[in-house]
Structures are given as structure tokens and as C-alpha cells.
Amino acid sequence: MIDPQSLWIMVHVVLLVYWLGADISVFYSSLQIIKPENSPETRAAVARVLGFVNFFPSVASIMMLPVGLMLADGKGASPLTGGWLVLPWAIAGVWLLISVGAATQRGTPIGKRYASIDLWIRLVLIAVLTIAAIASFAGGAPFTSNWIALKVLLFAFVLVCGLGIRFTFANFGPAFGRLMAEGSTPETEAALRVPVMSVKKWVLMLWAALVVMALLGIAQPHL
């Protein structure tokens, strides 16, 4: 009675819940971490909340692509069908391990190695997805529905926003380490505040893209 496609839609929505819905907690706790009136201990505790919650969007964002491809296959709009669907799942599985490795081994040589592989996966995906989407608009392949092609393009944009967040935040970790080791100084406070303030535009663009993608998935318009 229950169509497997409907279960994938549910998984697709639940992934959005733990991506977009969890992100708001990450955002608010980052604002508390940069408040100089909070003690280093308090800010470390809030950073723990941030670290825990942030784990969910990073996992959800990686799993979104294979689940989306299952749904596109169900619509008959994707070239990846049957056994080929193992491919996106295998890539997502390996990517997930690397990404989790980068997060849990942060600061160690192997962690840096994981982080750079993760970066390359993202860069390749951005290129592949953008080309696939544009080719679909222009030539009707590989994706045969334009609304799916647009979602693929927006997903590439979301990955770009994610990289924007990553590069903007690159100096936050070391600055936070200095805060913990040396206490608050005007330089350290500035080094914490600047990335949190300038990351906002990337975060807002990412959220907006996710909402538009949700609308496309719901309305499935003829474009």
C-alpha cells in the first residue's frame, strides 16, 4: 500500500528539517559566542551547543543529493536509474565519512587531509551539477524536467554558499582557541566578530535557496 517513493519524499522533508530547521540554532548560538560579556567558559559551552547542532545540517546536506536523485528517478526524469543509483549513494557515503572525519579530527594532519578532500568533492560537485543543469535546460538531458534541473542548479549554488561560509569562518576557530588560551583581548574579539557578521549574507542566501528548492519540489512547475 505504501509506495517507496512516498517514503523517500518523507526522508527528503526530514533532511530539510534537520538542515534548515537546525541551522537557526547554529546561527543564534554563534551570536552568543561573540558576546564579550559572556565568560570564556560560557562561550565554550555555547560552542558545544553550536557544534552539536551543526552536525545535523552537515549530514543532512550530504544525504540530500542521493535522496533527491531517488525521487528524480521516480519521476522518470533522471538518467541515473536501477543499478546506477548505487553510484550517488556510494559517493555520498564516502563523502559523509570524510566530512565527519574532517569535523572530528579538526586540527590534526589527517583532519586537514580530510578537509581538503571534502573541499575537492564540493568543487567537483558544483561543476558537475552546474553543467548537468545547464545542459538539461539547453538540450533536455541529463534531467528531462526543467524544475528538477533548476533544483540541481540551486543545489550547486547552496554548495557555493557553504564554501562561502567555510572560507569566511576559516579564522574563527584559531581566534576561539586564542580566546580560550589567553582570555579576551580587543584583537581576539574582533577576530571572532568579523566572520560571524560577514557570514550572514552567505547564510541568508543558502536559506533562501533551500526555501525556493522546497517550493519547486512542492509545485513541480512546468518551466
Binding site: 505504501i2 512516498s6 537557526i24 540554532s25 548560538s29 559551552a45 552539536f52 545535523f56 512547475p221
Partner: protein, 225 residues
């Protein structure tokens, strides 16, 4: 693209921010009851928790008028036209009241509004449950089977919210004592106990919300309407 699609999007977004934001609440609550942290840290963690916790509260109240609009547009709900506007106005007023309770915390006005809010929730649960049961018994007012089942599941989530409120009531006073007197084993135990008692209701909300969402997305497949 139709208006109905935008309301569907709003229905998904309210679900996203309801269940997704709850995660931050759940984890920060665990840190608030950690006696290793200083009073200041625990107070800040509670502030973070309380701010994030407002989002699911607003979403619970807003998802209902959105759902009512979707049902009315499908022709399955008797709440239509002027009545639907009234539902929206009531929901907006209720959201404003919940906002006031949060921002006037500690004042007598907030305490009165908190009591009123609890009474309203009891009334809301009855207003959700009674017409759903009469509909399932065949007497209306809802036209299809899945809609009253969905409303009953939603009422289950609202009940769990009330359950959290009631089991968590001792927490606030005990936290005040922690701030005034500092940590002691009885205070820590009371806080942990209040939190542990709330956990089943929190999980209950997630389960009800997930089944409700699944039913909403698949009523045509499951019920043929």
C-alpha cells in the same frame, strides 16, 4: 504554480522550524543541568535555550491556520470564508501573546497570560478532538477520513506540549534557587528530574509531528482522497 503551493510550502516550513529547532533546545537543556558549569554559563545556556524554544512554539500555533487554509481550499473543511480569517486572526493574536509571555518574563502580567495560555490550550485540544471524533463516527463536519485523523495526531502533539509545560514547571523555580543559593545536590536533582520527566513528551511531539507530516504528504495514496 498555484496559491495552494505557497500554503503547502508554509506548511512544510512551519514543520521544518518546529521539529528542526527543537534539536537546539533538547541539547542545550542537557548542558543547563550540568553542575560542572558556573551559574553564569548555565544562565546564558538557559537564555539560548529559551530563545530557540520560541521558534517551535510559534510554529505549532502557525501550522494550524496554514493547514486549515489547505483543507478549506481542497473543500474538506467547513472552516472557510470569514471563519478562516477568524482562525488566522486568532492564531496571530495567540502568537503575539506567546511573544509577550517570553518578553515580559517574570512580571505578573506574564504569569496571568501563562495561565490564560494553558487554558486556551485545553480549549484548543477539545476543539481539535471533538469534531474529529464526530467526523470519524460519520457525523461530520470534516468530509474525509484522513483529515480528522491528522487533526487528532496534531492534538496529540499539542497535548505533549502541555505535558512538557506541566512537568517542566518545577524547573523554573528550582533554577531561580540555583541562581540565588548556588548549586546543591537537591537543587541539581530537582532540575534533572524535571528535565527527565519532560523527555517522553518531547519525543512524543517528534513522533506525532512526523506521522502527521507523513499523513499530510500521502493522504491520497493512503486514503484515496
Amino acid at each position: 504554480m498555484e496559491w495552494q503551493d505557497f500554503f503547502k510550502l508554509l506548511h512544510v516550513i512551519t514543520f521544518v522550524y518546529w521539529v528542526g529547532a527543537d534539536l537546539g533546545v533538547f541539547y542545550s537543556a542537557r548542558l543547563v543541568v550540568n553542575p560542572k558549569y558556573s551559574k553564569e554559563t548555565r544562565a546564558t545556556l538557559l537564555k539560548v535555550l529559551a530563545w530557540i524554544d520560541m521558534i517551535p512554539r510559534y510554529m505549532l500555533l502557525l501550522t494550524f491556520p496554514v493547514g486549515a487554509t489547505l483543507a478549506a481550499n481542497l473543500g474538506y473543511s467547513p472552516i472557510d470564508g470569514v471563519w478562516l480569517y477568524l482562525v488566522w486572526i486568532a492564531a496571530a493574536a495567540w502568537v503575539y501573546m506567546v511573544w509577550l509571555i517570553h518578553h515580559r518574563e517574570g512580571t505578573d502580567a506574564a504569569k496571568r497570560l501563562t495561565r490564560l495560555d494553558l487554558m486556551l490550550r485545553y480549549a484548543f485540544i477539545l476543539a481539535l478532538v471533538i469534531p474529529s471524533i464526530t467526523s470519524l463516527a460519520g457525523a461530520g463536519p470534516y468530509e474525509t477520513e484522513w483529515l480528522p485523523i491528522k487533526i487528532l495526531l496534531f492534538a496529540g502533539a499539542v497535548c505533549c506540549g502541555v505535558g512538557i509545560r506541566l512537568t517542566f514547571t518545577p524547573f523554573g523555580a528550582t533554577f531561580g534557587k540555583l541562581m540565588a543559593e548556588g548549586s546543591s545536590p537537591p537543587i541539581e536533582m530537582q532540575m534533572t528530574r524535571a528535565l527527565n520527566h519532560a523527555v517522553p513528551f518531547v519525543i512524543g511531539i517528534w513522533v506525532f509531528a512526523a506521522i502527521t507530516a507523513f499523513l499530510g504528504m500521502n493522504h491520497e495514496m493512503l486514503f484515496g482522497s
